[in-house]
Symmetry: C2
Subunit: 248 residues, 2 copies
């Protein structure tokens, strides 16, 4: 297998050129679906896990959040976020796994397309549950288990390069996968739908929404390849409410 | 495409020879997972939608249900059920779509692998919600959206007949699919995970479990093809509690 070297600079530059990076929330295909699943932010203390360029942090501030903390492991992304978004937002350069906050620090925790880079979803859920107050809200998007199972995250083509279907394999073998994203080798973690939902239920969350976002209808005819996104689910968005009290 | 004629007699006979038909619950790969998700039946009034040979009805009676109604569209299956299971069970020959019961008639509604034969899941959920008392339990298994999306429900093979992967296609196009089951053409309905979960949430159910059953570990090495079932999800089991009161 050809070894592809991960080049941080190139990758960051390429990522910065993606529609979702330039246009912000409106450039993200799943945003309209995610927005509908977000809670009311008025007067809320918000945490964004894997905040990237800070678009979601900015949104919550504009919708009434009293405080917003965004954490991300990428210094470069946070540098852009600090420039482009409200000074009220507190950005912390830290991995999601190593983040530490006092119990009951937040009313809402959000995360956009970050958790499939982390080994343990259970650990995330335990921490989020501890950081949230009772009746606190947790909304996150991840790559769909159908999309992460096989590994390459590419269609299966015929000999003429025409899409035949999307391949699923090794579904119940959770763990590392290697995909090519923007021409670079990226490591992700596959886990089943069962793990996503039952980890939340076991940690005392009530599920309030489970949605597989579909492409925006206005883009189906105008954006190349968009119609094919009706052939496979690529993302999963889950909203949940913490129904138990954090133990002192 | 070759037209395969649906032969009721042949199909019934073939179905009757399946391990799950002969051995009952223990012969069904998903039973151990489903059993864990079932509620306590003591003193409960139970309805089984698509009861087939009555194995689940019998289980609930043996576990303390005070009354059990099983409905199925197949007269032949019900004839076997009446012979093999407890006389206390009331069997009704009726389609799930046309079943009618008074409001608040049941404490528990169960269904095993029946709903993917029905066009509308929303209609089922509305009825079940009406028939259940507040805090009533609803547990059902269906074929997994990954399994129903493409249609043929078969693996994708290489030219030597070796399994390459499982194909997913047309995921967001819900509706009719035709698969070959026991050599006969069978019509099923594909719907997304979003539809299954959000129909329940919108009808006032709280989700208590979402599990993709895995093959029994003891059968992985001994039963031919069983190990391949770790490569794709075939079934989805959902448990939910009705949290609202039926309107008078």
């Amino acid at each position: 297998m050809k070894q592809i070297t991960y080049n941080k600079k190139t990758f960051f530059e390429k990522y910065s050129q993606m529609t979702r990076s330039i246009k912000g929330l409106e450039g993200a295909g799943e945003w309209k679906t995610l927005e509908k699943m977000l809670p009311n932010f008025k007067g809320k203390r918000v945490l964004d896990l894997g905040c990237g360029f800070g678009w979601h942090c900015q949104y919550t501030i504009e919708h009434g959040a009293v405080s917003v903390v965004g954490i991300d492991i990428s210094e470069k992304m946070l540098a852009v976020a600090k420039q482009k978004t409200s000074k009220e937002i507190k950005y912390i350069c830290e991995s999601i796994e190593n983040a530490k906050f006092p119990k009951n620090s937040f009313d809402v925790v959000i995360s956009s397309l970050a958790f499939h880079y982390l080994k343990s979803f259970n650990d995330i859920v335990k921490n989020v549950s501890m950081w949230l107050v009772k009746n606190g809200e947790f909304v996150f998007s991840v790559e769909h288990p159908v999309f992460t199972a096989y590994g390459t995250q590419d269609w299966y083509y015929d000999s003429d390069g025409k899409i035949l279907h999307f391949p699923v394999d090794n579904y119940f073998y959770e763990g590392k996968r290697e995909a090519i994203f923007l021409g670079e080798k990226v490591q992700k973690y596959h886990r089943t739908l069962t793990t996503y939902i039952n980890s939340l239920l076991q940690a005392g969350f009530e599920i309030t929404g489970v949605t597989e976002p579909q492409p925006d209808k206005t883009k189906l005819e105008t954006v190349k390849g968009m119609k094919d996104e009706l052939r496979r689910p690529m993302m999963l968005i889950v909203s949940a409410t913490k129904k138990i009290k954090t133990k002192k």
